[in-house]
């Protein structure tokens, strides 16, 4: 019963939104057609003469639309991460039953090489284009600010890689000029630009992820906008031993994930599906982009929240506009009578008042879009998760793209049309004699 009620409400709302969008488009199209209509100057003058009301109403729109654009830019930025995970042909291999690298462990035994010695895997010279990795999260201690105070801690995302240069090739990442990949000796690392900024580090800088372990930064990854921007890459043994699941007592070593490169997305999907049939190692393989897309599903929560907030605020803004437009009609009853006497029809009156309402929305909303656009490219930090307790902190940039602008435009038109429709209808229905009396 409640389900039916919700379905009913949903359909009514959808019809209302589509109807008003259509109305707005029709009004704007008619405005462009060479047909007789109330002069545009009349509406424009009304907006400028009553500039205080115009300003108050338009600023409300500016805020509502500006917030919508900012919230959607945030969600789009998170969505874009999945596209920047590297080549579409990459396949990520985890331990069977694991949805997240954090909970995966593939033992390093004689069978593990079966996972990358496969015909579909591209070659890097003589070697397969595969990256064997240990992903974990270190807790770095930050010394107390005052003497005798307690230290604080921050999470650092660390990825141990067997061969950093090849890992870079697999993930489609290069180093920024002035850097180099780390070698087999020494305690050197490379890191994403985002985390380097957070830690205030550059090439040549050193830091301690834990006491007794000093890492020297030898390169910065050109990783802006990718999920690797917040990662530190180090030697696989160091990460496995200090932050991963390697068990020294039992002599066990593990990879959390293996990423292999195939030629394209179709090969990746087929290879991921078939790999388990070719090996005794219990694994779960999937195209890498699917893995990050799955993680990005937590963004849906942000999207739903953003749309809800924007929707409710839009209702507020729309009622505000309706108040203004009803006042405009009541203050110009005589004007309407005169216009009718001059030969303008009911539909032209409707068109004129709807246009005025849309002008409020377009001016205010347009300004909101411009304000929202200021956030394009702004760096943000968020968290994506597979929903099983794991997850990943990501540094990303907010994106105001065509999708965001389309949403904003639709929002502006719907709010403008809905806010103006009832007042315009009431203006249209006025009788000439009543209006002039």
């Amino acid at each position: 019963m409640i389900g039916l009620l919700f379905q009913g409400i949903f359909f009514v709302l959808a019809a209302l939104i589509l109807g008003s969008l259509l109305t707005a488009i029709v009004v704007l199209v008619v405005e462009l057609l060479p047909v007789r209509k109330v002069p545009r100057r009349y509406n424009w003058r009304n907006l400028t003469v009553r500039w205080k009301t115009t300003l108050l109403t338009a600023v409300g729109f500016t805020l509502v639309v500006g917030l919508l654009v900012v919230m959607l830019a945030f969600v789009e930025g998170l969505n874009a991460l999945a596209e920047k995970t590297g080549p579409a042909g990459n396949v990520i291999i985890l331990r069977d039953g694991a949805n997240d690298e954090l909970f995966s462990d593939i033992a390093l035994d004689e069978k593990v090489s079966e996972l990358w010695n496969q015909p579909e895997v591209l070659r890097d010279g003589e070697e397969p284009l595969a990256s064997q990795e240990v992903y974990s999260i270190a807790t770095q201690e930050i010394p107390p600010e005052t003497e005798g105070g307690r230290p604080t801690y921050r999470f650092l995302q660390v990825r141990g890689v067997e061969n950093p240069e090849r890992a870079g090739k697999v993930h489609g990442l290069r180093l920024k000029p002035g850097g180099r990949w780390f070698g087999r000796v020494g305690t050197e690392v490379v890191m994403g630009e985002g985390i380097a900024r957070t830690l205030g580090l550059d090439v040549g800088g050193t830091f301690e992820p834990r006491p007794g372990l000093t890492w020297t930064v030898v390169g910065l990854l050109d990783s802006r906008g990718s999920p690797f921007d917040s990662e530190i890459w180090a030697k696989v043994e160091e990460v496995g031993r200090y932050f991963g699941k390697d068990n020294v007592e039992r002599g066990q070593r593990f990879y959390t994930s293996i990423v292999v490169a195939t030629k394209d997305a179709a090969t990746a999907a087929a290879f991921a599906k078939d790999l388990q049939n070719r090996t005794q190692v219990r694994i779960s393989a999937m195209p890498e982009r699917d893995y990050y897309k799955e993680m990005s599903k937590s963004n849906q929560m942000f999207l739903a929240a953003a749309m809800f907030i924007a929707f409710v605020m839009a209702i507020g803004g729309m009622f505000g506009l309706m108040t203004t437009m009803f006042a405009a009609v009541s203050q110009r009853v005589k004007d309407i009578g005169v216009l009718r006497v001059m030969g303008y029809g009911r539909w032209q009156i409707l068109q004129s008042f709807l246009l005025e309402s849309l002008l409020f929305a377009l001016v205010g909303g347009g300004l909101g879009v411009l304000i929202g656009y200021l956030f394009h490219g702004v760096e943000q930090t968020s968290f994506v998760t597979s929903g099983q307790g794991g997850g990943k902190t990501v540094v990303f940039t907010m994106v105001v793209n065509r999708t965001v602008l389309t949403y904003a435009a639709a929002f502006i038109l719907v709010m403008g049309a809905l806010g103006g429709l009832l007042p315009a209808l009431s203006a249209m229905r006025l009788k000439v004699l009543d209006a002039l009396r």
Binding site: I2, G97, F155, G316, T323, T324, T381, V394
Partner: protein, 417 residues
Amino acid sequence: MTRFFLLILKNLRRNPLRSLLTALAVVALVAVFSIIVHVLLFLEAFTTEKGKDVKLIVNERYRMMSVFDRRHVEDILSPSSPLGQELRRVPGFDPDKHTVWHFIGFTTDPEMKDKDRMFFAIATYPEKILTMTDHLEPQHFDPGWVEWMRRPPVSGLDNAGMVMGATQLAKLNLRPGDRFRAKSTTHFDGTALRLPIEMDFEIVGVMPEDSPWNETAFIDYAYLDRELRRRKNEFDGKVNYVWLQVPDQQSAEQVALLIEKSVPELRCETAASAYSRFMEPMKNILWGMKYFLVPAILLVMTLILANTFSLTVRERLMEMALLKVLGYRPWHILVLVLGESALVGLLAGLLGATFTYVAINYVAGGIRLTGMPALFMPLQIFWWGPVIGVATALLGGLLPALGAREVRVAEVFAKVA
């Protein structure tokens, strides 16, 4: 006073459509404001240090996926260990107020592929669940379940009782009394094949949806410990967290220092401090909500009210002038306009609060945040909704009211003439 109130009511009824539209705008904005503020306060409560009955978490110091030897727990609790002896000297430290946590991932899917059939369980001491689990209230956990966790009433399997949250239980399509086998997605046997550990469980209790733990499960640590030993798992004898409870912040500070000094690879911190670190990636979002979104909502609300009342005042200049002729003082006019505005704000705020309360608590079944319990609107919304409505209404009505106060009788009548 009564005369004023009646006049205000009369004025609002003169243009019911405008009053209604303004009120509806405020209702919508009070609703979204209340939801956002409540979410922010809820998250803040997680990261605010408690004054008494402080929970401490002992975990591995330099790795988020904390795993450490249980002998450290024995060091903390034993009266014969040097650390245990020192801790006993801290005022209010009670070794009995502790528990251990060992996380284990399971799936009920034999193929281990279906994500929806995977869940995490916390292996702990059943008798400590109610007292030592943060944010678990007595109405969420029936003390009778403790015994059933040790000896489930249907299967009778030793220590195989599981208490699960309602949401998780529904996802797995299980019911109280169901017995099932689950494969671990995180713990494997010690053989070369590393086969998943399989365990049998019986559902003996269900934590309600409004419990913070409604997406997780509790199992008896004794059962897991036994299985890990039997299957030669690498986590045998290890725990993820130890929880301690001390009476106040001062004791918490002393206990933390002693533990960290004695076992450098462990960190001991308050639960609030640990939650803060987990919230760190969301810092910007929360900042944006607090200092950008909330003020913007209030501003839109104020603008709408200001617009409405400036229109109202402009349309009633003549009436204001007449009132002045009849002996009303300027401040009477000011109060009249502000009173209209405040009344709209009050009624709309109350309506907005009622709408939010019903919609969130009874229709939506709470606000769902990833990894958090379902969040329900508190009864306090019935005072803060109207307060916000009135405050923004007074702010929005102030300029129009000041304008109305300044109306010059001669000017208005001159225009009419």
